[in-house]
């Protein structure tokens, strides 16, 4: 066990799985970053350095740069997964997936069902997501609700290095298509990560902390925001539980409902847009299945229904903050029926 960054944890997961199974291959935008050039052949190792070093270890038949043609190479991942390989593709930003929705929504997600269960689709599509780097409206979105909407896809959004490694290994070993989204502001975030291979199962929320007064339900980088808020609330004798959803398709409804029953107060904190987002979805499930457990209306903490702005002050105002979470918790406590 040692302290590793989120980036190192992901790299280790890829390294271990490529060593374990020769059918695991990687291709995507600048996953080497240097093919055909006169300099270093893996100059980039992915836009965020996650695949750095894999080229020298596994060679150019196992990890390949692609042209910036998401439709072609995500489509190729679909075809490769149907015919014996286990491709892990990388798209720099989840925002770019708009140009290959067909390959994801209509091909990868549907093949098993349409063909009567006679096809496997062991592909993983990794992309960065999230705001906080002044990357503006087309490089900062938290688009996971769009994929969660589609039956046939699994959607993973890790919040810490330990989970990132275990969830990615689980994703690579899964026989269904997995959309694996990494918050770009988490890559340098460190935590304890075992050296060996291990899996974190899908559909099991992480319990970050337990407190009797309120449950904060969150995912990805917003889990950190919830932790900051919970630390502050503790000083005021408000004990918060934090659930880290980890995967939103499948979703751990059981744990959500269990904590709703235990605390009776829920705040859902989500970086996705408010309409049809994870916060809305989780809230609707609680209202439908555990209304009588609620001591007060659920509060959702999300960005506004607005594109992500560029200027740092606007971007910070866009993002849910720990203060927003604290305010929401206090409102839920005050609003007790």
């Amino acid at each position: 066990m040692s302290i590793k960054t989120f980036r190192q944890a992901l790299n280790e997961a890829l390294h271990l799985e490529m060593s374990r199974d020769k059918n695991v291959i990687i291709f995507g935008e600048d996953v080497c970053g240097g093919t055909g050039g006169t300099g270093e052949k893996d100059a980039w190792g992915g836009a965020f350095g996650v695949t750095k070093g894999l080229l020298s270890e596994f060679g150019p038949d196992r990890i390949m740069d692609t042209p910036i043609t998401e439709s072609a190479f995500v489509g190729a991942a679909v075809g490769a997964a149907m015919t014996g390989l286990r491709p892990v593709t990388e798209i720099m930003f989840v925002d770019f997936l708009g140009v290959c929705f067909d390959q994801i929504f209509n091909q990868a997600a549907k093949v098993r069902y349409m063909f009567g269960g006679k096809a496997d689709m062991p592909m993983v599509l990794r992309a960065s997501y999230g705001a906080g780097a002044s990357s503006a409206s087309q490089h900062s979105q938290a688009l996971y609700p769009i994929f969660t909407h589609i039956p046939g896809l699994k959607v993973v959004v890790p919040s810490n290095p330990y989970d990132a490694k275990g969830l990615l290994i689980n994703a690579i070993r899964d026989e269904d298509p997995v959309i694996f989204l990494e918050h770009k502001m988490l890559y340098d975030f460190s935590g304890e990560v075992p050296d060996e291979a291990y899996t974190v199962p899908f559909g099991e929320a992480g319990i970050i902390r337990e407190g009797k007064d309120v449950t904060l339900i969150s995912l990805g980088k917003m889990v950190n925001v919830c932790q900051e808020a919970a630390d502050e609330l503790a000083k005021e004798n408000v004990a918060a539980s934090i659930l880290d959803l980890r995967t939103i398709s499948p979703l751990d409804e059981e744990t959500i409902l269990e904590f709703t029953e235990e605390t009776g107060r829920v705040v859902v904190v989500d970086e996705a847009y408010p309409r049809c987002g994870v916060a809305a979805d989780v809230s609707s499930i609680i209202v439908e299945k555990a209304f009588s457990d609620l001591k007060a209306p659920i509060k959702k903490v999300t960005p506004p229904h607005s594109p992500v702005p560029y200027a740092p002050n606007l971007e910070q105002a866009f993002l849910p903050s720990s203060q927003n979470v604290i305010d929401a918790v206090k409102e839920v406590i005050r609003g007790e029926k």
Binding site: F73, G75, Q107
Partner: protein, 321 residues
């Protein structure tokens, strides 16, 4: 012509099976017992059979919304296909896919596809598998003149070329993308566009089985030897409208009559093999009888099939969830 008598008989039988299958599906549509729409392949048989008769179990094909012919040519079970189109439990995909999503991965048939241009990127992946796993397999993407304009197809041409993938792009140019003529909608020239990607390309008379077969043989061998992708622009004819309910008024009656009279790849095949004494009339007529019986039985199989079980509605969305 290097085809043996058995190969010729087999090619004719497969082409005839496609024709009779499609004519019969069209007829059964009238009964109201086929639930969805169908896009019929009749008229284009020489393309599917000219290519797929050269493929074996290592090889993969990706198909289109007009996929019945490709399925039959790649060896999919004909009664199972008919049952799938009828939406029955005994269909090839258990009634979950229907006409536009017939697939049989064990036969190397990666699926008809409801999205125009859906196949070419996918076939690059199948070719990548063949290359990395060393199967010596070849991957063929069938796509129409409409799909050729899609960005997906252009991106796939680029990827197949830079990765030197064992792919054959079979562009079936039947002159119409839905109701819009390729004369109007395709800028420039299909073969020249592919050549610009450094892909060996040629235009082929898709009404002539032997011409398709010859060109496909070269392209498939090129792929199998690791020499990269090829493209064939197969000039062909679509007998029916875009889909089963299409009144097809955008083509003149004169044009359609001329097509049925003089541009029938099956008639052309018959005339060639009989004219050169390779096969005789009786051999071909015997096949016609056999095919009629097969299709009759396929419809019977489909009609007698049970509806899918309601409890299977959410089965196979995932392997595990």
């Amino acid at each position: 012509m290097q085809l043996s008598r058995d190969e010729l008989l087999s090619a004719y039988q497969t082409m005839k099976t496609i024709r009779v299958f499609e004519d019969r599906v069209n007829q059964e549509m009238g009964s109201g017992d086929i639930p969805g729409a169908v896009h019929l392949y009749a008229g284009q048989e020489a393309s599917a059979v000219g290519i797929c008769s050269l493929l074996d179990s290592r090889d993969q094909i990706a198909s289109t919304h007009r996929g019945h012919g490709h399925c039959i040519a790649k060896g999919c079970d004909v009664p199972g296909m008919m049952a799938e189109i009828f939406g029955k439990q005994n269909g090839l995909c258990l009634g979950k896919g229907g006409s536009m999503h017939i697939a049989d991965l064990e036969k190397g048939m990666m699926g008809a596809n409801g999205i125009v241009g859906g196949g070419p990127p996918m076939i690059c992946g199948a070719a990548l598998s063949a290359k990395i796993l060393g199967t010596k397999g070849v991957a063929v993407a069938f796509a129409g003149d409409g799909a050729f304009n899609q960005g997906t197809t252009q991106e796939a041409l680029n990827l197949a070329s830079i990765w030197q993938l064992p792919v054959v792009f079979a562009i079936e140019d039947n002159g119409f993308a839905e109701a819009t003529s390729s004369e109007y909608a395709v800028a420039g020239d299909i073969v020249k566009r592919a050549q610009a990607y450094n892909i060996a390309s040629e235009k082929v008379d898709g009404l002539n089985f032997f011409e398709v077969h010859l060109a496909a043989k070269t392209a498939i061998e090129r792929a199998r030897e690791g020499l990269g992708p090829s493209l064939l622009q197969i000039k062909t004819e679509r007998y029916y409208g875009h889909f089963s309910g299409d009144a097809d008024t955008y083509r003149s009656d004169e044009e359609k009559n001329e097509m049925r009279q003089n541009k029938d790849c099956l008639k052309i095949f018959r005339n060639k093999v009989i004219g050169s004494s390779l096969l005789n009339e009786k051999q071909l007529n015997d096949i016609d009888d056999k095919v009629l019986e097969l299709i009759d039985n396929a419809v019977k199989f489909a009609r007698e099939g049970a509806e899918p079980n309601l409890e299977d509605l959410t089965k196979d969305v995932y392997l595990s969830y």
